[in-house]
Symmetry: C2
Subunit: 309 residues, 2 copies
């Protein structure tokens, strides 16, 4: 039931010693996903003990190099490693064309399929789904078309209460029916409502990645109630004008989005290299939203299941 | 009078922990050049204390990703850093098209000019020249068109011997004439030949980069007498068949090229990740060519001037 995020890279576009360009690795029930893929992501995956062969899908937020230049070498490596499983790739449309051109010009078509899915960055829509999770786009406000992503765990299957199995002497077919959500009809004609017999074992979890973007109330409403919100905070509160000019957010703005959204926890990163003391940036955000942490390279943030019984 | 090479990355295509994809930085008289530009090169430059803004030219040997995927992010960073000076870029022709497509598709044209020079990988010709150095192509034998590069320092200006200045009481205009290579005509009609009056202060130095390639006698003849030869040695001697199949060289083959060429010193690298003990690879080469060293990340190989007086 894992649900955790590992920060592979958290710096803004200008390289900073010891930091890396944007990339987060998400593990949902031991299935792996990548959000953004800055230069060096394949190396970072290795350093963080994540096997790149296990990636199911990559989600790119926007077409700035610091969010995608690690993708080409990652695909090359997967091909060299003999990957056969297709890789799902979500990004604004021009990246698909660029990959095609690159394959042709470098004569280097990967040995596995890359299923490219163009992302409409203006829509809030579900773009990916599997048994345990959905991924939705979150329109962002940046200098170029950009989409954030929200990963929502599906409601887990109901558990049947052990005491009820004993009380009513349920057989296998009855247990299966209760698990499906059906009420129980007893031999004497009484009906026991399903919610007395079963429960959702834990609340579905969620993680949103919003970078690069100006802070926006719309983003806050789309990520409402999220368990873990990664929101960029390129600038300190004092540099609000600069944030606005460049299509980025300040620490305080990121914290305000988290507060408005009723997020459980906020992660900030994508700090401009101009700030030597990132602790100061975190303090600024915490003044508005106390449960804020810094997205530091290699750190992992787990969302533990909130159990109902 | 610096002439030195710093190894930024030396691994073959499949990433190896602690190694990086191909890139060498060359410093000739405090002018900087890059040969190949694997992923992470800009980070490696920073780690090795080389300012990427000071790069004059980049030479790409061939269009395999592990030799070039660091170029796009490097160009982005130079642009962000406000570079105005054009960058000279030498590579097989399709890379120029690819860069143009990328600028268009990502909407990210650099703020400085990248002067792209398509390299004819079948020719041995001078492609770059400045006051102190020439760069020549060396046709390589790989699975795709590939060129090595040889960097040849020009003969330095003649120094006038101090004892001769005193003996003949040379004035400024006579010294300048002797420095130009002219003989000295004395008042009594005698002619003193220039080589008695002046000397070449040190021998011109050279460095060749030959990767990726099968070992070849032609390469050996083109790099004849080179001071420092970097030659790939992807495979151990026992894996000769594999080297041949994949268009690479073994340690022993690289050493044989160095011996045939009469190189002063051999650097080997681009080792396949399958070899855990690279010391063993170096030993194999040394058995054939004793002055062999391993191209390890971050190490610098200086060619000291061989002084004539």
């Amino acid at each position: 039931m894992t649900f955790k995020v590992t920060i592979l890279g958290s710096s803004a576009a200008l390289p900073v010693r010891g930091r890396h360009h944007s990339a987060h690795a998400l593990n949902v029930h031991e299935q792996f996903y990548l959000v953004d893929c800055g230069e060096g992501t394949q190396t970072r995956l290795g350093e963080c003990g994540i096997n790149p062969m296990r990636l199911n899908a990559v989600f790119i937020t926007h077409l700035h190099g610091d969010h995608l230049y690690g993708l080409f070498p990652l695909i090359s490596t997967l091909s060299l490693l003999g990957r056969k499983t297709p890789l799902e790739l979500f990004a604004p449309a021009p990246l698909g064309e660029l990959l095609e051109s690159m394959y042709v010009m470098l004569g280097d078509t990967p040995a596995f399929e890359v299923h490219f899915h163009p992302v409409d960055t203006r829509q809030n829509m579900m773009i990916y789904e599997n048994k345990v999770m959905e991924v939705w786009t979150v329109p962002l406000r940046h200098r170029v078309p950009a989409a954030g992503y929200i990963f929502r765990e599906k409601r887990p299957p109901r558990n049947v209460r052990k005491d009820m199995i004993d009380s009513y002497g349920l057989d296998i077919s009855q247990i299966v029916a209760v698990k499906r959500g059906e009420d129980l009809v007893l031999d004497d004609g009484r009906t026991i409502p399903n919610d007395q017999l079963s429960y959702i074992p834990y609340e579905p979890r969620s993680y949103a990645y919003c970078s690069d973007t100006m802070a926006s109330g719309k983003v806050a409403s789309l990520v409402e109630g999220v368990d873990l919100l990664y929101h960029e905070a390129t600038f300190a509160a004092a540099d609000k004008a600069l944030a606005s000019q460049t299509g980025h957010s300040t620490t305080v703005q990121a914290a305000e989005v988290a507060r408005k959204a009723g997020a459980k926890r906020l992660l900030i990163g994508h700090f401009s290299g101009r700030y030597k003391d990132t602790g100061e940036l975190v303090s600024e955000a915490r003044a508005v939203f106390p449960d804020t942490e810094e997205a530091t390279e290699g750190s992992t943030f787990e969302i533990a299941p909130k159990r109902n019984l």
